[in-house]
């Protein structure tokens, strides 16, 4: 069970949001995965091959923010992933309904959930003509798991046998880790060109859906000759191939890959990913017809965009959530009643309307609506705005004295705006006179929280990795959480749910755990994000979902 946690915690609750691109908020983009429903893990039904749409020789452009890397094993940035999803076919893919489907893999099967057999579809080619084989996957995964490479997605391979040999720990009293003696995972075995056998360190029934993450993409032999060159000109096996190289801070051009034999051939000739520093500018360019698709319309411009674009305004539900966390370790916040009172003093709907133009959904649950097991109103009256009750509860809990510091990072100006609203409401509704902001540099924010240096309520953001209540509850409320909240009852329920027979059986247990977390309220849910995109009248067939922008489906008029 702990393996399951470590496998997923890293995919990035907030990293994609809080790091590299400090200037723009990244769209809440479910990087990873999918439901844990289809554990059966045999070959899923194949989506019908894209029919005879005329492959237009035409190009369209997509607004992007500068990615960090384009080597699949070395990036978890949602911008990189947008590009990589066009360049690579992953073993598995999550469809719009959240169901896992086979893509580059023919099947992913296991008898004991520990030793997995991945059958690769024959006949696939990389953009340079190399065939896609089991070895292509093994090579890529070994490189990512090899510690000295220091690739971002290293941790995803932690539960494959032999991981520790590639990532030896520093001996006691030394900071320097010894160089690993091997550079291949012992748990990866190429049985034949189309069969890869993966041995995990323990049974893990959800392994197949993890293979939908771009970190599990294959890499051709040619990549390893010069990895630095590969990073700006990745060679994939997807419907689009890179055209030229990544021109930093300008553009990434991809063109239809004629040798593509997979299930989703490109319907357009080429895509130009135009790199923008700010989403406001990207939106202005969309209005001016200079860019065809943007995935993040600034919330402030959403009403105007809706009017202007009509049907071409696309709102996609997202798994991303904002919370207000409390430092339970600070004795001024030790009372659950106080925390509930603060939650009740916040007018979520008004904030969503004022700051996010009504685009986000006020939440009364700890998990996002698209997650199985979501219950509307799970929180009950503790998440309902009621000044009188809030004040009564606040007084009953003994009130609050001293300065209340509110923590958030400087990554996006909207944080300050909604925090201002929260501060005003706490001041007016509860009579907390002295409220100060602690706007922490983005580079320092998460370590501030991790080290429990926050002495007041703080912004907590979560980007969903895969649609399961476990992905929300365990990393945020489980052991070692940022609030310093400890509940054996909660932890036991999570443990039970994790070892339940299947997803179906686990949900009621997760819900019980959620009830405990809501009753104690160490962290109050605020709202669920929605991604707002838009496109020009030059393109059709836009089908953005929570898991992929599906750029291969887009046709240029």
């Amino acid at each position: 069970m702990s393996r399951l946690v470590s496998l997923f915690t890293l995919s990035g609750n907030t990293p994609r949001e809080e790091h590299v691109t400090v200037l723009t908020r990244i769209r809440g983009f479910a990087v990873l995965l999918a439901t844990a429903l289809a554990v059966s893990a045999c070959g899923g039904s194949e989506p019908p091959a894209a029919g005879g749409g005329q492959p237009g020789a035409k190009e369209f452009s997509v607004a992007l923010t500068e990615p960090d890397h384009l080597t699949p094993g070395n990036t978890s940035s949602s911008y990189s992933i947008t590009v990589l999803q066009a360049l690579f076919d992953l073993p598995v893919v999550i469809d719009a309904k959240g169901q896992p489907q086979m893509r580059a893999a023919e099947s992913v099967t296991s008898e004991d959930q520990k030793v997995w057999t991945i059958k690769i579809k024959p006949g696939q080619k990389f953009h340079n003509g190399e065939p896609v084989t089991a070895e292509s996957f093994a090579d890529a995964w070994n490189a990512a798991a090899y510690g000295p490479n220091a690739w971002t997605n290293n941790y995803y391979f932690e539960n494959i046998e032999g991981y520790d040999k590639l990532n030896p720990e520093a001996p006691e009293g030394s900071e320097e880790a010894p160089k690993p003696t091997v550079d291949k995972l012992s748990g990866l075995k190429v049985v034949d060109p189309n069969t890869l056998q993966v041995t995990l360190t323990g049974p893990f029934s959800q392994f197949p859906i993890t293979l939908a993450y771009t970190g599990f993409a294959p890499m051709p032999k040619a990549a390893f000759a010069d990895l630095a060159a590969y990073d700006i000109k990745p060679i994939g096996n997807g419907p689009f191939a890179l055209d030229g190289t990544w021109v930093r801070n300008r553009q990434i051009k991809v063109k239809k890959f004629e040798g593509y034999a997979g299930p989703r051939p490109a319907k357009s000739g080429s895509i130009n990913f135009k790199i923008y520093e700010s989403r406001d500018t990207a939106y202005v360019d969309l209005r001016a017809g200079k860019v065809d698709l943007i995935q993040t319309i600034p919330p402030a411009s959403a009403p105007e965009a809706k009017k202007l674009l009509g049907d071409r305004f696309v709102a996609t539900p997202s798994g991303t959530m904002d919370y207000l966390g409390f430092p339970v370790f600070d004795k001024r916040f030790a009372s659950a009643d106080l925390r509930r009172a603060i939650s009740m003093a916040i007018d979520r709907q008004a904030i969503v309307d004022a700051v996010f133009n009504g685009a986000f959904k006020p939440m009364s649950s700890l998990v996002a609506p698209l997650v199985p097991g979501y219950r509307e109103g799970a929180c009950g009256e503790a998440c309902v705005y009621d000044v009188a009750k809030a004040k009564a509860l606040f007084d009953k809990a003994g009130g609050f004295s001293g300065t209340m510091n509110l923590y958030f990072s400087n990554a996006d100006p909207s944080y300050e705006q909604w925090m201002t609203a929260v501060a005003n409401q706490l001041k007016d509704n509860l009579g907390i006179a002295d409220i100060q902001f602690r706007k922490v540099p983005a580079a320092d924010y998460l370590s501030t929280l991790r080290e429990h240096k926050q002495d007041g309520p703080y912004r907590n953001n979560w980007v969903m990795d895969y649609p399961s209540p476990q992905n929300y509850l365990q990393p945020m409320w489980g052991e070692g959480n940022r609030m310093g909240w400890e509940s054996k009852e909660f932890n036991d329920l999570i443990a039970q749910a994790n070892s339940a027979a299947g997803m179906e059986a686990s949900i009621p247990l997760y819900q019980q755990a959620e009830d405990v977390a809501l009753r104690e309220m160490p962290m109050a849910p605020l709202w669920n994000w929605q991604d707002q995109g838009g496109y020009s009248d030059k393109i059709t067939g836009v089908q953005i979902d929570a898991y992929s922008p599906n750029l291969d489906l887009i046709t240029v008029k």
């Binding site: 004022a354 100006p413 201002t420 902001f437």
Partner: protein, 296 residues
């Protein structure tokens, strides 16, 4: 004394016939002077005693459900994004903008007068040291330097902002001052004063300063606007002031996202800002005209 006649300043400043008295005579006849003076007095009073203009404190009695509502019978300036009455927020915003603008300029002006006089008058190694010091700070671009400083010290209020802006804002005027002093120091009346036995301090402050200050003074007046806009820019970049401080810069920062649909958010703080800066500029102009003997 002859020297006193060369540059008629000194203790008898406001006596009839003195430079300053003449300046006053000229000033009091000019409409622009009175107009800008009145606006600035109002701005300063507003900054010092906001309670005279509004019954509400900063962020007091905000109703978020009224966000960005335009002007109505109750709130003549409408409401801001937080649903606070905009008029009272703007009144409270006066303090930060006016105070930072004036304080930074005054400190920077004092620094540049002293350093500019020393460097320009004495020349030599003192000039070299001061000029290189100026060069070092001058080489740090304003927004860039301020961003680094303000991010390094995230818990900054109005005074820390002032300090950061002074550190980066004294160099332009110092260089200009130095150039002016160099241009003036070789003039005949300075040589005359020196021959008549005036000491360095007297020559610098009584003879050179009044004749060198005019362009620096103009730049200083403009600098108030510069500083206020610079402060607003830092707010815009998200590294400037923050809650619970209120400033026009912060208000404009919020407004820029919404001004297409809610123009009042942009218009009102801009009006206050423009009126204040305009007054500084015009006042600077008329005072300079009146003071500068060369222009008579």
């Amino acid at each position: 004394m002859l020297e006193a006649q060369i540059a008629e300043t000194g203790a008898d400043r406001m006596k009839p016939g003195s430079l300053w008295y003449d300046a006053w005579l000229e000033l009091r006849g000019r409409v622009i002077f009175w107009l800008s003076a009145v606006i600035l007095v109002v701005a300063v009073v507003m900054a010092a005693f906001p309670g005279l203009f509004t019954g509400l404190g900063p962020y007091e009695r905000c109703n978020l459900r009224l966000f960005r509502k335009g002007p109505d019978g109750v709130a003549v300036f409408g409401y801001d994004t937080q649903g606070c009455e905009y008029w009272s927020q703007i009144v409270h915003g006066t303090r930060a903008s006016v105070m930072i603008g004036i304080a930074v300029t005054v400190f920077a002006l004092l620094i540049s007068i002293v350093l500019g006089l020393l460097a320009g008058y004495y020349g030599g190694w003192l000039d070299a040291v001061i000029s290189r010091l100026t060069d070092v700070f001058f080489g740090i671009p304003f927004v860039l330097g301020a961003t680094v400083i303000l991010i390094a010290f995230p818990r900054h209020g109005i005074w820390a902002m002032t300090l950061a802006l002074v550190v980066l804002g004294w160099t332009t005027m110092t260089r200009l001052m130095r150039a002016q002093v160099i241009a003036v120091r070789d003039m005949d009346f300075v040589a005359a004063a020196r021959m008549l036995g005036a000491n360095d301090r007297r020559i610098m402050f009584k003879h050179i300063l009044p004749n060198a200050i005019a362009p620096v003074f103009v730049v200083a007046m403009l600098n108030v606007g510069n500083v206020i806009a610079g402060e607003a820019t830092l707010d815009y970049l998200g590294v400037g002031l923050q809650y619970p401080d209120v400033s026009w810069g912060l208000q404009l920062n919020v407004a820029q996202s919404y001004f297409a649909e809610n123009p009042h958010l942009l218009v009102f703080p801009s009006l206050f800002l423009t009126a204040t800066v305009l007054s500084f500029l015009l006042l600077g102009d008329v005072v300079r005209d009146a003071l500068d003997p060369k222009l008579r």
